[in-house]
């Protein structure tokens, strides 16, 4: 059992790791090994999506437990579960279109997305035979199926048209996706503007020489990025001798390209050495905590 539980996983890691390294160095003379360089990463991607089941299960179990125990704030857990299940369901069926539906029928009314990408408008299929660009002929109608007076018939790709139910599902999904997901996402992202301010207020204090350098370069770069910076440069230009050289934007650019980029290179070089040796430790089985214990 120890062999199965402990040694075999180590052998698997060693062999796959070695294969990837050999594949990287193999030339065109070894096409089947060379091809593994791109195949195996794709496999990894597939394998990792299977664990989504574990994640979804963890999310559901914890929140269902809270609800059943009526724990503090169980109502929010209910919100989470409703959001999760409805988005998962809507995503599953809208993404499957047109898998679950028949081909479009002539004379029937379907719905296509409007330019705002959220709402849908009704159309009637005039001709369901695809032309050479794979499109079909439709006309725009109102909700009762009457042709709209001021519109002409149009050519659309058939997979953009949906049945009424699918169009409702799509609208619901768009409300959740655009209304909730996208907006919450960009709002959380934009909170950074506030946190950048509070962090710089607290942290940029000249407590030591190092802190002074940190603040100084941050200050110059911030100043160089906005129009006030050029105003300051114009004032500084009045200083005799060195004045004309004190262009904030130029100083900013110099800091970015020389001292700052030198430090960035060094960080990257160090980090990459760390990457390589950490990887080697795993391939050779020195580091094995990710495999857990004997049990």
């Amino acid at each position: 059992m120890i062999f199965l539980k402990r040694t075999l996983p180590l052998i698997i890691t060693f062999i796959t790791g070695m294969i990837m390294i050999v594949a990287f160095f193999s030339g065109e003379g070894l096409p089947s090994i060379k091809s593994l360089e791109s195949t195996l990463p794709k496999w990894i991607q597939i394998i990792m999506t299977f664990t989504m089941v574990l994640g979804a299960f963890s999310l559901l179990r914890i929140n269902l437990q809270k609800i059943s125990r009526k724990a503090d704030g169980w109502g929010y857990s209910l919100v989470l579960i409703i959001g999760f299940l409805s988005m998962a369901f809507l995503g599953l069926i809208t993404g499957s279109w047109p898998m679950f539906d028949k081909p479009l029928t002539k004379g029937e009314i379907y719905y296509v997305l409007c330019e705002d990408n959220v709402s849908a408008r009704p159309i009637r299929v005039i001709d369901n035979v695809k032309d050479k660009e794979g499109k079909i002929k439709v006309e725009y109608v109102d909700d009762k199926g009457e042709k709209l007076a001021d519109t002409e018939s149009a050519m659309i790709p058939p997979d953009t048209a949906r049945t009424r139910i699918m169009s409702y599902a799509n609208s619901m999904q768009q409300i959740l996706f655009v209304g909730v997901f996208k907006n919450a996402q960009s709002t959380m992202f934009s909170l950074l503007a506030f946190f950048v301010a509070s962090a710089s207020f607290r942290a940029f204090r000249i407590k030591s020489k190092e802190a002074g350098l940190l603040m100084g370069s941050a200050f110059i770069v911030m100043l160089g990025n906005v129009s006030i910076g050029s105003l300051v440069s114009q004032i500084l230009a009045y200083i005799p001798v060195i004045g004309p050289y004190l262009n904030i934007a130029d100083i900013k650019e110099w800091i970015m390209t020389y001292p700052s980029s030198a430090a960035q290179s060094a960080i990257l070089i160090g980090a990459m050495l760390g990457y390589i040796s950490a990887s080697m430790k795993i391939i050779f089985g020195v580091e094995r905590s990710h495999l857990g214990g004997e049990g």
Binding site: M20, F24, G91, F219, A263
Partner: protein
């Protein structure tokens, strides 16, 4: 049109709820937080994991007639992909407490492939180009400032690398000073990177307020 209106209103309310995070923990934020977590997890499960990864990369390759469309439906099935499929399924043994060790084979496989790639690609794509970047002529003819700048670059790279030495104490006249210069460089670099990012972050906030003030309230055009 109504869908757009609902979306805008839902969006505006969620935006405001998220902003209350700045004040303190409150029911509005908690509501938005839980809804956001739920919706995004649902989106990743169905749309990303299933429709964008599993379906095109696995199902459509093994059973093209059922899952692929167009010309791809006539492709020959790639049965080799059953291997990653099986390895993925092994992960589900985590549900069992006695057999959860079976999933170690998958973990081992994933670790082997990703570390194998990391060893070589990090050297090729980052390490070597960064070393090359630091090698510049110290004398640029006729350009004293350029020569000075190049010197700053080389000294900085070397000094910062010394800072990362682990097997020696950062003390003594040579080592202590060089490591100290390294720290100065790091600080300048951190300050500059911080300052440069501020601008982008504020642009994002402007985007949000633009949404609230123009798309929702129509106060500005």
């Amino acid at each position: 049109m109504t869908t757009l209106l609902i979306t805008t209103w839902v969006g505006a309310l969620i935006t405001l709820c998220c902003f209350t995070f700045l004040i303190k923990d409150n029911p509005f934020y908690r509501f938005a937080e839980h809804l956001f977590v739920g919706v995004s997890a649902g989106y990743y499960l169905s749309t990303i994991s299933f429709h964008q990864v599993l379906k095109p990369n696995l199902l459509a390759k093994i059973w093209p007639t059922y899952f692929a469309s167009g010309t791809a439906a006539e492709a020959t099935p790639e049965y080799i992909l059953i291997i990653p499929g099986l390895l993925g399924l092994l992960m589900l043994f985590r549900f069992s407490s006695n057999l959860s060790w079976v999933s170690r084979f998958t973990v081992a496989f994933v670790m082997g492939v990703s570390t194998g790639i990391a060893v070589v690609t990090s050297a090729e794509q980052y390490l070597i180009p960064q070393v090359k970047k630091a090698i510049v002529p110290l004398i640029v003819s006729g350009d004293y400032f350029g020569s000075f700048s190049n010197l700053v670059l080389v000294v900085g790279t070397v000094a910062c690398l010394f800072y990362f030495f682990f097997s020696t104490e950062h003390r003594g006249p040579v080592f202590g000073n060089v490591a100290k210069v390294g720290i100065w460089y790091l600080m300048i670099s951190f300050g500059a990177a911080f300052g440069a990012t501020v601008m982008g972050r504020i642009s994002l906030l402007i985007g949000r307020f633009n949404f609230l003030l123009s798309d929702w309230l129509h106060l500005i055009k």
